[in-house]
């Protein structure tokens, strides 16, 4: 019998199970008591599923490897039973914000729309910095929005707005795009949503009661994970402050191309996989180190990537399940991550 590296991982994962249970249960058991206390809200939410997919990073050239992984994701979403109520694309549809890249991506997303699955979308930095979002906005409309669905208030924001780093350096639009397309861009600075969106958010939630279930989507995390790679949102503290009046907020982000989980105050944060390629974990301590994926085999284009579906139940307990094609998710998380 051939013992693969993955088998070895499994053995050590099982051995570490007791430790995992101890650390993981503390945040999760908290939710049970909250749910009991919130039984009055039972009538407000009708349980449903939605899908989060993103970081497709499509290149202009035909039959690219990232076309294949994105296409497979779309096909799997189309085959889901029951159908998700909607699909949220969480940014970075294109690699360099080119019209042809965005058009290619839109064709894939249109397949979902044609099958009766609505698509919601927010931008990532790769969609934006060639023409400062012009093509993206023409194609997809407003980059920040909110809507209500079956008792839950959903918010999407554009979290990748940086200060001007290009004018003083006399950069062309292409150079500006190439710079920020590097994760470790060291001239681009930290990004955020900016004043205008903060004001909008404040107004958007002003009249909502504290027991309103809130789900917020941003491309980048709403906590300081690793600023070096813009695994952060500069004005996340203000966003968290505005949303602090709610009993519970589920925050879902892309950009990190990895499974990562955190909690801050009333918010639970989770990062989504890319369909293009996985990022390694940065040199920081994870707050929940057991909620992460395995290393991927770089020889398999379908390893290290995927998307996620989330079930929201009547108590506003979420369960996020990662859909992968390789053995990427540890056994303890295969049933989903409680949100």
């Amino acid at each position: 019998m051939k013992i693969t590296r993955r088998d070895l991982f499994k053995v050590s994962a099982t051995a570490g199970m007791a430790a995992f249970t101890a650390s993981a249960l503390s945040p999760f058991t908290g939710l049970v008591s909250v749910a009991e206390a919130k039984s009055s809200k039972r009538s407000k939410i009708q349980p449903f599923n939605f899908v989060v997919v993103g970081d497709a990073h499509l290149y202009e050239m035909p039959n690219h490897r990232f076309d294949k992984t994105f296409e497979r994701s779309i096909q799997d979403i189309l085959n889901m039973n029951p159908k998700p109520d909607f699909v949220l694309f969480i940014g970075d549809l294109a690699q360099f914000g080119k019209v042809k890249e965005l058009e290619k991506g839109k064709k894939f997303l249109d397949k979902l729309e044609r099958a009766g699955i609505p698509v919601k979308i927010i931008p990532g930095e790769h969609d934006w910095y060639l023409d400062m979002g012009k093509t993206w906005k023409q194609m997809f409309g407003k980059p920040f929005w909110s809507f209500d669905h079956k008792g839950v208030h959903f918010i999407g924001m554009n979290s990748i707005l940086v200060e001007d780093y290009w004018t003083a350096r006399n950069m062309t639009p292409w150079e500006r795009m190439l710079a920020i397309a590097e994760l470790e861009c060291h001239v681009c600075g930290l990004w955020g949503v900016g004043e205008r969106q903060l004001e909008w958010l404040e107004k958007d939630v002003k009249n909502l009661s504290p027991d309103t279930p809130i789900v917020i989507f941003t491309h980048s995390p709403l906590w300081d994970y690793y600023p070096r790679w813009n695994f952060q949102t500069k004005d996340a503290p203000q966003i968290r402050q505005i949303l602090s009046k709610f009993e519970k907020v589920i925050a879902i982000h892309g950009h990190v191309h990895q499974v990562v989980y955190n909690r801050t105050g009333n918010m639970v944060h989770i990062g989504n996989l890319a369909t293009a390629w996985p990022w390694p974990y940065p040199p920081v301590e994870l707050p929940y180190p057991k909620i992460r994926m395995f290393r991927a085999d770089p020889g398999d284009i379908f390893d290290g990537v995927g998307f996620a579906s989330t079930r929201i139940d009547e108590y506003f307990d979420g369960l996020m399940k990662f859909h992968t094609w390789a053995d990427l998710i540890p056994d303890e998380l295969k049933g989903g991550v409680p949100l």
Partner: protein, 157 residues
């Protein structure tokens, strides 16, 4: 008294040396390695690291637009300190240079570099420099290691 003092100073020097280096028998480079010489030699190394950084982010190494940095920002998960090691995908014990070529050929769909080329040396120099200070772990293919933590700049002087 004078002798005692000298002896004490010598002893203190040895103790300081021991706490600084694990081995006490480390020889030092003899002159003419002046401060100026060392500075020049370091500048040469940094020029190679910088060249490696540029190549690391250059799609010309491949044919599908990808660069080394797509999967290895700041050389993360390049794990240069774990080579040589058995690589499943290479099918044998591989050196860092062989692994770099595997990445150029497979994920980047490009043409392998001659192993003694300046480009290869530069890529290797960049990857190793981003893992400076790490303990050598030849053969360790059980995990990914994050590189040095970078606060600002390219990650090297």
């Amino acid at each position: 008294m004078k002798l005692l003092k000298v002896g004490f100073l010598l002893g203190a020097g040895v103790v300081a040396g021991l706490s600084f280096n694990f081995f006490s028998n480390i020889a030092e480079a003899r002159k003419p390695f002046t401060e100026e010489d060392l500075k020049l030699m370091n500048e040469e190394l940094m020029a190679l690291v910088k060249k490696g950084d540029e190549l690391w982010h250059d799609p010309k190494l491949g044919k599908n637009g990808l660069t080394c940095a797509n999967c290895h920002p700041d050389a993360a998960n390049a794990n240069p300190h774990t080579f040589p090691k058995f690589q499943d995908n290479v099918g044998k014990v591989a050196t860092l240079r062989e692994m770099i070529n595997w990445c150029i050929k497979r994920p980047l769909e490009g043409k392998e570099l001659p192993e003694d080329s300046e480009e290869m040396k530069a890529l290797e120099a960049y990857a190793i420099y981003m893992y400076r200070g790490f303990t050598l772990r030849p053969g360790d293919n059980t995990r990914e290691y994050p590189p040095v933590k970078v606060k600002s700049g390219p990650g090297y002087p």
